[in-house]
């Protein structure tokens, strides 16, 4: 059971560079999410999607973009990396039914230098 798969696991970026964090799920979930986790700050919602072609901003969307062309994939794009984007990024997915849990990937640790 693959569940939610994120790539890469680690990445170092220079300031101003761009990159895409990949996320794919094989559970046919409609809802997908991107979170960032900073020490002592908990998980903050960056963007979410309720289905293919539909995305919306979460709590901390500035500096990021997303797209959802298929049910399975939900990539997160950083256009101009800044040191403030150094964090651990988690992708998650959940079923459309209320009150069902979200399943998380293993995370991508990103450092911007």
């Amino acid at each position: 059971n693959a569940g939610v798969t994120q790539t890469p696991k680690f990445r170092i970026l220079k300031i101003g560079q761009s990159m895409t964090l990949q996320c794919t799920q094989d559970m046919n979930h409609n809802y997908m999410y991107w979170y960032r986790q900073d020490p002592g700050m908990g998980l903050k919602l960056i963007y979410y999607s309720v289905g293919a072609g539909i995305t919306d901003k979460g709590e901390v969307p500035n500096g990021y973009n997303v797209s959802r062309s298929t049910t399975e994939d939900f990539p997160l794009r950083l256009e101009l990396a800044a040191p403030s984007q150094t964090s651990v990024y988690f992708c998650a997915s959940s079923d459309i039914t209320w009150r069902t849990e979200a399943f998380f990937g293993q995370g991508t640790r990103l450092t911007v230098v």
Partner: protein, 111 residues
Amino acid sequence: EDQVTQSPEALRLQEGESSSLNCSYTVSGLRGLFWYRQDPGKGPEFLFTLYSAGEEKEKERLKATLTKKESFLHITAPKPEDSATYLCAVQVESGGNQFYFGTGTSLTVIP
């Protein structure tokens, strides 16, 4: 504004020493409250969902309870393998099924 607060931030217990973790929330329209466990370098792993005040759920040494304002995660006779960060999240009645997380409690169980 929706808020989720967890306490304490960190907790050290001797093996076998029972205790409780707290998650208090101020949200409008709670759909559900979720407890997750997170090990270092891993993604959060689901433990429990609670829907209504008075509800309780158990799994091995863990028991979660819910009131109208807070939830408790009770740990009975913990073992070193229970050491992890425990996260609380709420799902609210707005937009998609977003989950809003607290900052977590880091639990260390000493043999």
